[in-house]
Amino acid sequence: MTLADLCAAACADLFRGDGEILASPMGTLPTVGARLARLTSEPDLLLSDGEAYLLADTPALGERGRVEGWLPYRMVFDVLANGRRHVVMGANQIDQYGNQNISCIGPHEQPTRQLLGVRGAPGNTVNHRTSYWVPRHSPRVFVGKVDMVSGVGYDKDAGPFHDIHRVVTNLAVLDFVTPDHRMRLVSVHPGVSVAEVQAATGFELVVEDVSETRQPTDEELKLLAELDPKGLREREVRA
């Protein structure tokens, strides 16, 4: 078992209880995780090929298999507004209330580093469940204040459909299930200490009953080998 396998299982667990909705994972680990979830706990999930097709099968990365539907971007926007979607986005920065930045670093008028742009993050976060995947947990990512609020956090008035679920990183799993919705340490990965996670975080985490992130089962490890035979997941997260 590798760190990537552990993170894949943690990403799969993000979708637990979601039922028949569209999983929109960004990045390799969330993609593998969503497929693993469909093969185990969440068989009714809908998966996209990242372009315009819905996958009837749950194929290996890069494969399409049979197609069960058509979902061009315009229809993704409809699903998003309709709410039957769970997106797992990346984050160049994220703060203690779950505000996320993928737009730019530095002043918006003239950034020191231009990134992607806010993309669909403002709409995603006020319309349906959102989780984040951070392959390199560090104080540069987990910051006191993000430079451009792209994904909306719990300290904003974000309406009735706002639901930031969890953050999975290479060190830990975190959520916002606290009285004031500050980020809480849920579990640390095997071999990682609470102090290490706190040291890699640029704000104070809520630390109560911290468990250890569960290890993937033998069945999950077998499925992961089938879903990602080339080991692409190992390139996204390193021990």
Binding site: A52, F77, S103, L116, G117, R119, G120, P122, N127
Partner: protein, 261 residues
């Protein structure tokens, strides 16, 4: 006899003017009207406002100093996350921007297409999109729910440039790939609408009829331009030219000279 709207890329550019707001179809590094963009690079046009689900169209126009403002939700090359030319333009302060959520771009184009001053949308609430663009206002539902929403203003385009797989000479145009993107909406939101295509065919060859995205009342000019989306993808006619895109992403000033010549 219906009008024959065929023209050259240079004739399209001759109908554009400094300071115009130009909408560009496609998505990221997919089915971009690159032949039309290249014709702009070779022209004297400047001070453009570009509205785009941005890819190398935005990067090239910024690199060539054609752009005053970019209206965007993202600029990305898909297989390469960031467009270095756009990054350079932003980081040097050479351009101004209006940064919107992707859905807000669609909403603003739809408002323009429907001749409405605005359309309500949830996206944007709580985000810094509203903070950085103080012209954006919210509105409260006039019904019992009293919900606060963003009043996304219409994004009016002086011209739309799109690239499709096939068209007839009258401006009926067909996409053959998996996604129409928002090319129809760009045309509906624009005063002047230009479609380049891989091949001009007889109207009867535009089958099946469900793949005809643009009808002729949405189009003013048709430019036959084989390979006209390259190096972006135009499936099933061709995939993205990843080697040429990598070269573009080196952001070498010589590339721009060679590309525009």
């Amino acid at each position: 006899m219906m009008r024959d709207k065929r023209m050259t890329a240079e004739q399209v550019v001759a109908e554009l003017a400094d300071g115009m707001t130009i909408g560009i179809g496609g998505w990221g590094s997919r089915r971009k009207p690159m032949a039309l963009v290249r014709a702009i690079l070779r022209s004297g046009l400047r001070d453009l406002t570009v509205v785009s689900y941005g890819g190398p169209d935005v990067g090239l126009l910024c690199a060539a100093g054609k752009v005053r403002e970019v209206v965007f939700g993202f600029v990305s090359l898909d297989s390469i996350a960031y467009d270095p030319w756009f990054q350079r333009a932003r980081q040097s302060g050479a351009i101004s921007v209006r940064e919107l959520d992707e859905g807000m771009v669609q909403c603003g184009l739809r408002a323009a297409a429907h001749r409405l001053p605005f359309l309500p949308i949830r996206a944007g609430l709580g985000s810094d999109v509203l903070r950085h663009d103080p012209t954006l206002k919210t509105i409260r539902s006039p019904y019992a729910d009293d919900t606060e929403l963003v009043a996304m203003p219409a994004i009016h385009l002086d011209a739309a440039l799109v690239h499709l797989n096939r068209a007839d000479k009258h401006g009926n145009a067909q996409y053959l790939g998996p996604d129409p993107y928002f090319d129809d909406l760009f045309c509906l939101a624009a005063k002047r609408r230009y479609v380049s295509c891989e091949k001009v065919v007889d109207t009867a060859d535009l089958v099946p009829v469900q793949t005809i995205l643009l009808n002729r009342m949405m189009v003013d000019g048709v430019v036959e331009s084989p390979g006209g989306a390259g190096f972006t993808s135009c499936v099933p006619d061709y995939d993205r030219d990843e080697a040429l895109q990598r070269e573009y992403a080196q952001a070498d000033p010589d590339f721009l000279d060679r590309y525009a010549s």
